[in-house]
């Protein structure tokens, strides 16, 4: 069954712009990205939107729908009432290139700051031997599609842009946790997580977990365990002493 839905869509280049009103046809089974495409086809041919797979796996169509970060391709129109006005805006944390397309290069810069997987000296690719139980914790984090909605919603940088140089965001703190938990990674991740990547800024309000389209438990399984590892290292004299005396293996 079709109906006409009211939309407000952010239009503009750079930061300047405004919400423009549209009335668009909606058909059964459609998602918000379908409606944005219909807008392009019928009313606003220059409307910019980034998209790719339409299956919730590429992370391209991240946008804010009624104020919440969502994937356009995974947000069904049936979740809204027919008389509801739906507001679509670009991700608020990143600079706008045009309309709904943001410049997410902040994330790539942060990714480059994290040293890659560092195996022990003398162990070459092909010689890693790991049991499933040792790697399955990290495997959860490999589900990340890099939609960057977690970094977008994190208030540390969303509401305080001045924190961007000091804070890597949940996506990359999760990457650090993934490497730190890896049985064959020997790089020192804990000190740098706190001192260089801003783990201490996280106040675990769990918005990153709430918006993750892959349902990764970012806070409970990556950020809090990482905070506990940092506490071992920096804030717990008993663990420090125990490690010194017994040279405990990890």
């Amino acid at each position: 069954m079709s109906y006409k839905a009211k939309f407000k869509v952010w239009r503009g280049e750079g930061g300047e712009g405004k919400l423009e009103d549209f009335t668009v046809e909606v058909n059964e089974g459609e998602v918000v990205l379908d409606i944005i495409h219909r807008l392009q086809a019928t009313q606003a041919p220059d409307l910019a939107v980034r998209w790719n797979c339409k299956a919730g796996k590429c992370g391209s169509c991240s946008m804010e729908i009624n104020g919440k970060p969502r994937l356009g391709c995974m947000t069904r129109m049936s979740t809204f009432t027919e008389d509801e006005t739906i507001t679509v805006t670009p991700m608020r944390t990143f600079p706008v290139i045009k309309d709904l397309v943001t410049d997410v290069s902040f994330n790539y810069e942060k990714a480059r700051e994290i040293p890659s997987f560092t195996p022990p000296e003398g162990v070459r690719p092909g010689e890693y031997r790991m049991k499933q139980v040792d790697v399955e914790r990290s495997q959860e984090f490999r589900k990340c599609i890099e939609c960057f909605m977690c970094n977008n919603i994190c208030h540390v940088i969303r509401d305080h842009e001045e924190n961007k140089p000091a804070f890597a965001g949940p996506r990359f703190l999760m990457r650090i946790a993934e490497l730190d938990m890896h049985p064959y990674d020997v790089a020192d991740r804990q000190e740098s997580a706190q001192e260089e990547h801003g783990l201490g800024y996280c106040n675990i309000t769990k918005c990153c977990t709430e918006v993750c389209p892959e349902h990764i438990k970012i806070t409970d399984n990556a950020l809090i365990p990482m905070k506990e590892r940092v506490a071992d290292r920096k804030y717990d004299p008993i663990v420090w002493l125990g490690n010194k005396i017994f040279k405990r293996a990890k």
């Binding site: 952010w10 750079g14 930061g15 712009g17 590429c58 391209s60 804010e64 009624n66 104020g67 919440k68 970060p69 507001t87 805006t89 670009p90 608020r92 944390t93 600079p95 706008v96 290139i97 410049d103 290069s105 790539y108 810069e109 049991k131 139980v133 040792d134 890099e146 939609c147 960057f148 919603i153 208030h155 540390v156 969303r158 509401d159 305080h160 842009e161 938990m181 049985p183 801003g198 201490g200 800024y201 996280c202 106040n203 675990i204 309000t205 769990k206 918005c207 709430e210 409970d220 809090i224 365990p225 506990e228 590892r229 506490a231 071992d232 920096k234 804030y235 717990d236 293996a249 990890k250």
Partner: protein, 261 residues
Amino acid sequence: MTQTTPDAPVRRQRAQIKVRTLRTDRWWLAPLLTFLALSAFLVYGVWAIFDGSYYLDPYIAPFSSPCLTTSCAEGARLFGWAPIGDWYTLPPGLLILGLPGGFRLTCYYYRKSYYRSFWLSPPACAVQEPHGKYSGETRFPLIMQNIHRYFFYAAIVIGAILSYDAILAVVHKPLGLGSWILIANAVLIVAYTLSCHSCRHITAGRLNHFSRHPLRYRAWTFVSKLNAKHQPLAWASMFSVMGADLYVRLVAKGIIAFPFA
């Protein structure tokens, strides 16, 4: 998402949206309810600490256990032990309040709830916070949240004592409603304590090779299952400790006086 350009384009401004949020749902409801519930707990706690009716054989109110002063009734003392002498004249509950209180205050779940509902940092996801600056838990005093694990150790002891109190009550008054209320409370308190993120870390979370520590891995697996319920356990144990404490005080005051009370 894959990067499509080798060099980052010139930085532009983020969208100049003037409103704090474009959310249309009732995002304010959860922080409001949390604020009211936590405030009620704090107000009740202050009243309970200064209320003298914390013991009626065999029940002792959880907020006042363990009772460690000579001013405590003989049966209220833990193993008859009263290490704090006559010189201490304040309510006995004040002595131990900091341990379970500190455990909840530094708990990862409660941190989320009071940062959102009391400090509005942020009040809800995608709702702009009112503060001009933010340094999170990088500085004093919030950097002290890192001592949560020490409160966890204390909470294990407190949980064991509350369990002992409850078992003692059941042994002495097996048909008393209060005995079973204390048992339910002890179960919830212990479950909440064991579901703690620090407990999860201590069991085996700090390890990278689970396969070398099978027993610790099994413990971690068990705690991880409990940990997934940390939020509901935090609320359930908060209401249970408040309810059990109030019940004992009402019985001690004679306000609840039916035969199986």
